[in-house]
């Protein structure tokens, strides 16, 4: 029954439900364009619209206002306290000349790429395995999701100990007799970012699994039956039928993973504090360090503006394709 209900709705309808706030904007737009003879559109669900005013105000004033403020002050030479004395692009020039910033961007790219790939692949494989009507599914689900209940700081500290050469994996393996064994990613500049990646995956994959499992459960049983009747192997059913049908779930998951990647900070602080040297620095940490430790707000704002621009470069074309295309059609 559950499957039928989900299937009874057309895709746009389901997505409209999911993106309710956008819908409101669309509606107001449409109403203003529509003939004046139908004022009821604007007043429909009036209480719901009133209820969402505080959140809209928060979004506009705090998110948008704060963003604009940050961008404006990134063109100033503000030190400890914000000050409106413009210096043009100086902060940005200094930013891109700083080796630490360049390393941060590279690290974020590596971390981001592998987190995206591995957490989606591993998450989906785990979800697909869970979907085989196995025994003790609840238990396994809890075990896999459990790391997500820990904060990044705790995760980072746990993995700092596990990867510590004197107490962790290396020492355990050495005590088994393999005295030449070396495994100290957190103390090797070349691979330290992968040490952080391991911890990030350990923490985040469970959530991806749960989201995708929910998506898999939303696939109608009849699809499976039809595929079986047609003699399509299970893996092909997953790859060519089920995954395309789970597109909305994948997009939600992607957004959640991506936002986690861009803001990665506490994991690095807990595991390596950016070390050895500057080998595991990330942009968010650069922003914080320069805003507060170096007491140079202008530099920090420039760095955070660059982060915003990077995100925008990725999000805008995608959003255009995703939403712009549909509106035309």
């Amino acid at each position: 029954m559950r499957g039928e209900f989900a299937y009874a709705m057309t895709r746009p309808e389901r997505e409209r439900q999911r993106f309710a706030p956008i819908d409101i904007k669309e509606e107001t737009l449409m109403t203003s364009q529509a003939d004046a003879g139908r004022p009821s559109r604007l007043l429909r669900n009036l209480s719901a619209k009133i209820a969402s005013i505080p959140m809209m105000l928060t979004a506009v004033v705090i998110f948008l206002g704060g963003t604009l403020w940050t961008v404006v002050y990134s063109f100033t030479n503000s030190k400890l306290l914000p000050r409106l004395s413009y210096v043009g692009l100086d902060q940005y020039e200094r930013l891109w000349a700083a080796p630490r910033w360049v390393v941060s961007i590279q690290n974020l790219a590596i971390y981001g790429f592998f987190t995206l790939v591995f957490s989606l692949v591993m998450g989906f494989v785990l979800a697909a395995l869970m979907d085989q009507k196995i025994r003790f599914e609840n238990t396994f689900r809890t075990i896999f999701l459990y790391p997500f209940a820990l904060s990044f700081i705790v995760t980072g500290l746990v993995w700092q100990w596990i990867l510590n050469p004197e107490f962790g994996i290396q020492s355990v393996v050495r005590s088994l007799g393999f005295t030449g064994f070396t495994f100290d990613p957190l103390y090797d500049s070349d691979i330290v970012i992968y040490g952080i990646l391991i911890a990030g995956l350990w923490q985040g994959t469970g959530l991806v699994m749960c989201l995708l499992l929910a998506g898999l459960r939303g696939i109608d049983e009849d699809i499976w039956k039809a595929a079986r009747v047609d003699g399509i192997p299970v893996w092909r059913t997953y790859l060519f039928i089920v995954i395309p049908m789970m597109r909305p779930v994948f997009i939600t998951t992607l957004v959640i993973i991506a936002s986690g990647i861009v803001r990665v900070y506490d994991l690095v602080v807990a595991q390596t504090s950016g070390g050895p040297g500057i080998a595991s620095e990330v942009p968010a940490k650069y922003v914080y360090d320069y805003m507060f430790q170096a007491q140079n707000l202008g530099q920090g704002f420039a760095a955070s503006t660059m982060m915003l621009v990077t995100v925008a470069i990725i999000i805008v074309p995608w959003a255009y394709l995703e939403f712009g295309g549909r509106r035309r059609g």
Binding site: A98, Y290, Q293
Partner: protein, 411 residues
């Protein structure tokens, strides 16, 4: 004895006006959290509680780099504590300029700080536009090399008397499975070690030329090239330290797992806490045994402007208490730092502190980098040296070039 009675009188001036007033709670924030530091700050709290008020301890763990942003955001965010630690110098400069810090000139005049605070550069660092905004509590010098006698014994070499001997002894230490030089992973440790090498190897004049006059040519010159050469040695010797915090690195020296550490005299508190005796268990070389000059940076307390008048009054009491002779002695003995006043008796001081006091008395002092450079320049320097120490493929020449760039744009 004269000193004692003087002290008693001074203490009385502090205590008497308060006997009548009721106890007021003052929240004091600081980043003194290692064992030796916590013991020292307890002395300050005890002295302040004795004035009939109450010290509410607001320790923030994780060294100054973590604590300062929290302190600054509390002050700028309108939730100021009653008093807070900063390194005196330029860290709180803008807060003072923005009028967020209380003017202590009255207390300073009453307590005659101008006369008693030695060297006077300490008070100068607290002075902005002729007004005094902070109470210095101790002198910390960076220029010390701490050596583990046990480690050298194990390696079968004599305990070095200067930096060059130490470098020469490094292979023997390594052969015995000992890390020659412990350098923790926190960025300020690498940057600090470099500053120390600079004073020891290039001397006071070059140090001032680079950090005070911001002379980028000098920073790119041959004198500094020698310093980078030494830093390269230090980098090689520090390989395999694998700890983060400075006190963990000091602990490697205490336990004989590392040969030595370049660290400020605050490390002494850790040795004392571990029950080690200067000269017997460990050796200290001021100025790396090359150039016996110490810097006179240190800690100071700033007092944010408060709305509560009662508390504002008690802030003055706290300021006076911090500089009272007994407080100075009790605090600095535990902390391993030197007192800010030249007129107190440190008979209980150990060998290393006595060496420091002698150098101080002889006037072989320089200002600390916290006093000379802005936090921004300091941070860039930290980024450079933490990279340099962690990345063996970075040549001293490249690093020097980047160092000169930082100095050129420093403020």
């Amino acid at each position: 004895m004269k000193l004692r009675s003087l002290a008693a009188v001074m203490a009385a001036t502090v205590v008497l006006p308060l006997a009548a007033a009721q106890a007021t709670d003052l929240e004091v924030t600081h980043w003194w959290t290692s064992g030796g530091e916590a013991a020292a700050v307890a002395e300050l709290a005890k002295a302040f509680d004795a004035t009939g008020n109450k010290w509410i301890d607001g320790a923030i763990a994780g060294s100054g780099g973590t604590a300062r942003p929290i302190m600054v955001s509390r002050i700028t965010g309108g939730d100021p504590m009653a008093a807070t630690q900063f390194n005196h110098g330029r860290q709180a400069e803008e807060l003072v300029e923005a009028g967020l810090m209380r003017d202590l000139t009255d207390v300073a005049t009453r307590e005659n700080w101008k006369e008693i605070v030695k060297p006077s550069s300490l008070l100068d660092s607290c002075t902005i536009d002729g007004k005094i905004y902070c109470a210095p509590v101790n002198i910390h010098s960076w220029q010390w090399l701490w050596l583990s006698n046990a480690a050298f014994e194990k390696a079968g070499v004599a305990v070095p008397k200067n930096w060059d001997e130490f470098v020469a002894a490094a292979p023997a230490l390594e052969a015995a499975g000992i890390v020659p030089l412990a350098v923790g992973g926190q960025p300020w440790q690498a940057a600090g070690a470099f500053d120390v090498l600079m004073v020891a190897i290039a001397g006071k004049d070059t140090f001032y030329k680079v950090f005070k006059d911001k002379d980028a040519e000098a920073a790119a010159g041959p004198e500094i090239a020698k310093v980078f050469k030494a830093a390269d040695d230090a980098r090689r010797m520090s390989k395999g330290t694998n700890v983060q915090d400075w006190n963990q690195a000091t602990n490697l020296v205490i336990t004989g797992k590392a040969g030595g550490q370049i660290m400020g005299d605050w490390a002494q508190g850790e040795f004392a806490l571990a029950g080690q005796i200067a000269g017997k268990d460990y050796t200290c070389l001021p100025g790396l045994g090359v150039n016996e000059i110490i810097s006179t940076g240190g800690d100071a307390f700033y007092f944010p402007v408060l709305k509560d008048e009662e508390k504002s009054k008690v802030q003055d009491v706290l300021a006076a208490t911090l500089l009272a002779p007994e407080t100075q002695v009790a605090f600095n003995l535990k902390k391993g730092s030197l007192p800010v006043r030249g007129d107190v008796d440190l008979a209980a001081a150990n060998d290393c502190m006595k060496k420091g006091l002698e150098i101080l008395a002889a006037g072989n002092v320089i200002e600390g980098t916290d006093q000379l450079l802005s936090a921004d320049s300091q941070k860039q320097k930290e980024d450079l040296f933490s990279e340099f120490f962690a990345n063996p493929s970075m040549t001293p020449e490249d690093a020097q070039k980047r160092f000169a760039d930082i100095i050129a744009s420093a403020d």
